[in-house]
Amino acid sequence: MPIISVRDVRKSYGRGQNRFDALKGVSFDIREGESVAIIGKSGSGKSTLMHILALLDAPSSGTVELEGVDTSTLRGSRLNRTRNKTFGFVFQQFFLTGNSTVLENVILPLKIAGIGPSERRRRGHAALEQLELGDKAKNKAVDLSGGQKQRTVIARALVNNPRIILADEPTGNLDTATGAVVEDILFSLNRENGITLIVVTHDEELAARCDRRLFIRDGLLVEDSAAVAA
């Protein structure tokens, strides 16, 4: 069974003349453990698609199934629990709280999940060690370099053992060398821990490293590398 199954998803904003169709009927499946790149220019609808995949937004029509469960049936605390347990987010702009320590930033998902303080610390330190940031745990997030910030974000994405990591332009704010390191980390997590990796990007090189590429243009899936191969 695919971990994510998208069927004829449409999403439109506004009404009447102002109506804007961001997605015009997109269908695909993602298997567990795959690394998938969603590629498109800005305005192509790829961000909208990612938000729908992350359960942050609901499609106007069509269905998104997460492990066979129609996500439109998820409500309230069940939806929140699913978000918390299933996804790890890596954003281009990091979204770190500058004045808090690196450790506090990393354990935020655990705090939200309601995990106790000692367990939080243990798992937070473990995630930081994994990303070779163990010595930065007590530093303020604002004092980190770009690469360190992105690694902190990855540690935060990892800390609650998610099934899927959603990365939105993960290397967009990094120089080539640092970006390559971050890419390596993400793909090794995908290979070694079996975490499904979904990367939203317009960087062809990053996309090329993924198992599969989905090209989005004007709200439509115009090319699926898996379909081409098959």
Binding site: S77, N80, L108, K111, G114
Partner: protein, 434 residues
Amino acid sequence: MRTVDLIGSAVSNTFRSKTRTILTILAIFVGAFTLTLTSGLGTGINAFIDDTVTSIGASDVMTVTTTPEGATGVDATEPVEYNPDAIASGQPGPPGTTVVALTPEDLDTIAGIEGVTDVVPTRSIRPDYIQAGDGTKYVIGVGSLIAGQTIPLESGGEPDDDATEPQLVLPVAFVEPLGLGDPESAIGQTVTLAITDAERTQHLVDATVVGIAEEGLASPSGAAIVPNAALSDELFEAQSIGLPAEDVERYAQASVFFGPGFTDEDVQALKDRLSDAGYTGSTVSDQLGLFKTVIDGIVLVLNAFAIIALLAASFGIVNTLYMSVQERTREIGLMKAMGMGNGRVFSLFSLEAAFIGFLGSAIGVAVAMLAGSALSSALSTSILADLPGLTLIAFDPVSVAGIIIVVMLIAFLAGTLPAARAARADPVESLRYE
């Protein structure tokens, strides 16, 4: 998110933007400070009045008259010079007074009323004047002590009822005008009281000053001497000369004793029974009720000003938190993306508001208590030195805790607006927000 983590996050978020938080706290501080001082003022003055109740009269006594209106007026605060042409109203009954006397039959009736344990008639003694040596003559009244009453004394002692020689306690205001020097030197000196009997003959009675009464807000004596039994008897006998026997046993009022365990309802019930029998009973607290009502009214107005200050401060909280929500839009979006429920986001910001309220009020209350205590101790030795026993600003733990809770509640309510905005925020929009 666990509630304890929620509170912890709210507290640490409060200190993220220190300047802004401190300014908001200051605004609340002013309100809480004012509110604490004004309510402390009410507490202090009312406590003073309560204390004086015990010196004015025991709590298990009420004054009973047959007239609908109280027979007592406001005592003169200044000594009034004696005018020989003024008509003294002696025993109840002379023309011009509206007092309907209590007769021995009345006393028996009252004693028979349920709840009354004892009836003691108050003898009305109306001396013409008081004079020391050949000095100026001053008008003075005669007060009396009932069981449980004390006179706050400036010097000397209380009149001795067992003594055979006439003694009296003089109000401190009369010491100098009478030419007795200071309160210490007045003790042991002899003063002369003049009293006119029913045959218009003036009698002079000499008495020794044994004590000088302090001036209080409502002291038992007021502008009146407190005689001992010997002096009281002597004056009453002199005054009663020439009165028919039945007129001697006429009393303007009587003290009615009831059980010490009487609640306010019991006292009210007793008053109702007295009223049915045609008498009016009033306790000391009844007479002080007016005082307290006036003071409560003033304190209420002052408190209203403090509340207005707090309302202004609450807009500061709204503003601070709106800015905070604006600044942390992406953080809110992130927390929601990570599965934080809207309710918890709402709680996070409301708790932040409540915590700001708590800080402001706790600091405000603490500083107000320090300032209030310093102020009232400074005043009690200067401007208010004439009112011994008055702590102008007093604090009781319940009202102080109440103020903190009220301020926190106001802050919480102010925080709900920005908190609701944060809770409503769409995570997608929030994450896009630059």
